[in-house]
């Protein structure tokens, strides 16, 4: 188990390394000129030359990448040995062209909002998805099953950028039940935090729980026809024990997979959700950085998002080993 974990982590680090190389290469090699982008509106040739030197853009790309990676782990110093020496402590992802703030600080600033969306919504969608899936499977063929299946199918076909606006119209503009979405720290004002987060949570949960309901139902129905469930029934176990200890456990593996990947990609920035509800999270930081062509911030947000996806993959595999004895040998 330990060796497997180590192997997976090394694999994950390799994938991240390649992702970082591709991202770095694409964004710093291809577009017109990063120095000109960093220079802004009141740009003079001298200023541009100075920026090029300050940002070390006059170095070969491989050297730039090497220094970038070194910065991520131990920090880096720009303009070493001159009066304008600038130390960027690790993990250093450079400075925003737009605001001159360190990218790491910008990311740290935005993580709480994204974390709030992702965690709140995931609790809600797991709860709703699993419950309706379990009920559907147990009451197969009844009207409850049919209604919940139809809702699931509808939810799976809807889009955040449509439902989000419609729900905002109904619950914020017309009924005024919830506050206009945004972010305040839950530690300073937990009630306001919940009031502003609830609409994004409901929207995401409505769309995503659909997949979980379908997966849970299909998985449970499949497991219910297995021999070991018949054996459990023959042993005289209560149906509650059978359904939750045997059937649900057997059906949970694909759900864990999808959940891990969904949560992982959401943690890296709920791009569309944050855009629709105007919430200052990682996704919003990324979309703003893209429209300003703020390269260091783009690279930073893409890397953080890829990091979460890779971590989610590893965690999912570890869960497999705990849940499914067949995988443990592999």
């Amino acid at each position: 188990m330990f060796r497997y974990l180590v192997r997976r982590i090394i694999g994950g680090v390799l994938v991240l390394g390649i992702v970082s190389m591709i991202v770095f290469g694409l964004f710093f090699a291809l577009p017109a000129d990063p120095a000109r982008l960093a220079c802004g509106k009141s740009c003079t040739p001298e200023l541009m030359a100075r920026i090029r030197h300050t940002l070390e853009l006059d170095q070969p790309l491989a050297v730039q990448y090497g220094r970038f990676i070194k910065g991520v782990f131990v920090g880096r110093t720009y303009l070493k040995g001159t009066a304008a020496e600038l130390h960027c402590p690790g993990p250093c992802l450079g400075y925003s062209y737009q605001t001159d703030e360190p990218v790491t600080a910008l990311l740290k600033d935005r993580i709480p909002a994204t974390l709030s969306i992702a965690l709140g919504a995931s609790v809600l969608w797991l709860l709703v998805g699993l419950t309706s899936g379990i009920v559907s499977a147990l009451k197969r063929g009844t009207w409850i099953d049919k209604v919940s299946q139809s809702i699931a199918l509808g939810g799976a076909s809807l889009q955040i950028y449509f439902v989000g606006l419609v729900l905002q119209f109904i619950f914020v503009d017309k009924l005024a039940w919830f506050h206009s979405p945004g972010y305040v720290s839950p530690f300073s004002d937990p009630k306001e935090w919940a009031m502003e987060m609830i609409l994004p949570w409901i929207t995401l949960a409505f769309l995503l729980s659909a997949i979980y309901a379908r997966l849970t139902r299909a998985g449970m129905l499949e497991v219910m026809s297995e021999d070991y469930v018949r054996t459990a029934r023959a042993k005289g176990l209560t149906s509650r024990r059978i359904n939750f200890k045997h059937v649900l456990r057997g059906a949970i593996t694909p759900i864990v997979t999808v959940f891990g990947l969904d949560l992982g990609s959401l943690l890296g920035g709920a791009v569309i959700t944050e855009y629709v509800f105007n919430i200052p999270g990682l996704g919003r930081l990324a979309t703003d950085a893209v429209s300003n062509v703020d390269l260091p911030v783009i690279v930073g947000t893409v890397l953080v998002a890829a990091f979460f996806i890779v971590i989610a993959n590893i965690v999912v595999d570890l869960f497999y080993m705990v849940l499914d004895p067949k995988v443990r040998l592999a």
């Binding site: 964004f27 449509f162 855009y275």
Partner: protein, 326 residues
């Protein structure tokens, strides 16, 4: 039993027992599936209005880009006159706030843009995914390891975010290759980006199928007869894969349609004056609280189209693989 004829001969004479290929069986099942018919009709409807967009233009005597200030209420911040987003005999689905462009025309021409980008991306992703999947599954070993690793890396990219970020970069590249700024570069970039993140899903499924098929007797037989690798891959294995490929494609199209709309919605897609459903949704954001109809029309259409494709994909899968039936 009647003395004249044995019953079995009777059955044979009317052709009751006849060999039917899996394709015929699947088609039979699909033909009796009402959901399949309804969802296919919905998809057909949207394709048709896209194809007939110029006819709609003739009917209402205006163009999708023409401004109609006379349909707007100058006293209310240039919102459409009348209820339901300004629906009237002249503008059947109302007009756009602030510009007064005809929503129906923008909608039918938008169907063209959205569907053709999504379908082209589907074709590109499918061809690429199938080829990579075939090679990876058939050759195994080092080839498989390298290709699988590439798929893993592509899947580790935060796709929407990366697609957003890469769009200006690729656009720059195409422009320096001589293409004009605007949709002439935007649309190829979108197709490329959508296909780039779509192919690994198809490749993985094809790869799995090929691995299970590679050692089957008919492949061995062909190999023993001295068939070339290309013959084995494309003439022996590929024809047996069309069922899973078809199902994947049917279920991929709705994902690609929504990705296209999402990219345009986030500002990395089709730009003015070309109309597109994602662009209509984006344009409607400032007005959703005063003119919900303008949000509702493209949003609802997207919902119905995706729902129909999902249902149709499920039906095709059930028809091809009765075991998966609900």
């Amino acid at each position: 039993m009647t003395p004249e004829q044995p019953a079995s001969a009777d059955v044979i004479s009317i052709g009751g027992i006849e060999g039917r290929s899996p394709t015929q069986l699947a088609w039979e099942r699909l033909k009796h599936d009402h959901t399949a018919w309804v969802s296919a009709a919905v998809v057909g409807f949207f394709v048709l209005i896209g194809l007939l967009a110029p006819v709609f233009q003739r009917l209402v005597h205006t163009s999708p880009d023409a401004f109609h200030p006379e349909a707007l209420d100058a006293n209310r911040g240039a919102l459409p006159l009348g209820s339901f987003g300004g629906m009237s005999g002249v503008h059947w689905l109302g007009v756009e706030p602030r510009t007064g462009r005809d929503v129906m025309l923008r909608f039918v021409f938008g169907a063209r843009t959205s569907l053709s980008i999504a379908l082209t991306a589907t074709i590109v992703a499918t061809i690429f995914g199938v080829i990579i999947g075939l090679l990876s599954g058939f050759f195994g070993g080092k080839v498989d390891q390298v290709l699988s690793r590439i798929m893993e890396i592509v899947l580790a990219f935060p796709s929407i975010l990366f697609a957003l970020a890469i769009t200006p970069v690729l656009e720059n590249l195409l422009q320096s290759a001589g293409l004009q700024q605007g949709n002439q570069t935007r649309i190829p970039v979108m197709i490329f980006v959508i296909a780039m993140f779509g192919w690994p899903y198809i490749a993985r499924i094809v790869r799995g199928q090929v691995i299970s098929m590679r050692e089957r007797e008919f492949v061995d037989a062909a190999r023993a007869l001295g068939a070339s690798r290309a013959h084995l891959i494309f003439r022996q294995i590929l024809p047996n894969l069309w069922a899973p490929i078809l199902v994947t494609v049917a279920l991929n199209i709705p994902t690609f349609i929504t990705t296209e709309a999402a990219l345009t919605f986030l500002g990395a897609g089709v730009i003015e004056p070309t109309s597109d459903w994602g662009a209509m949704l984006l344009d409607s954001v400032p007005f959703y609280s005063v003119d919900l109809m303008y949000t509702f029309i493209p949003g609802m259409a997207l919902f119905l189209l995706v729902l129909a494709f999902n249902l149709f994909g499920d039906s095709v899968r059930d028809a091809l693989d009765p075991k998966s039936s609900r």
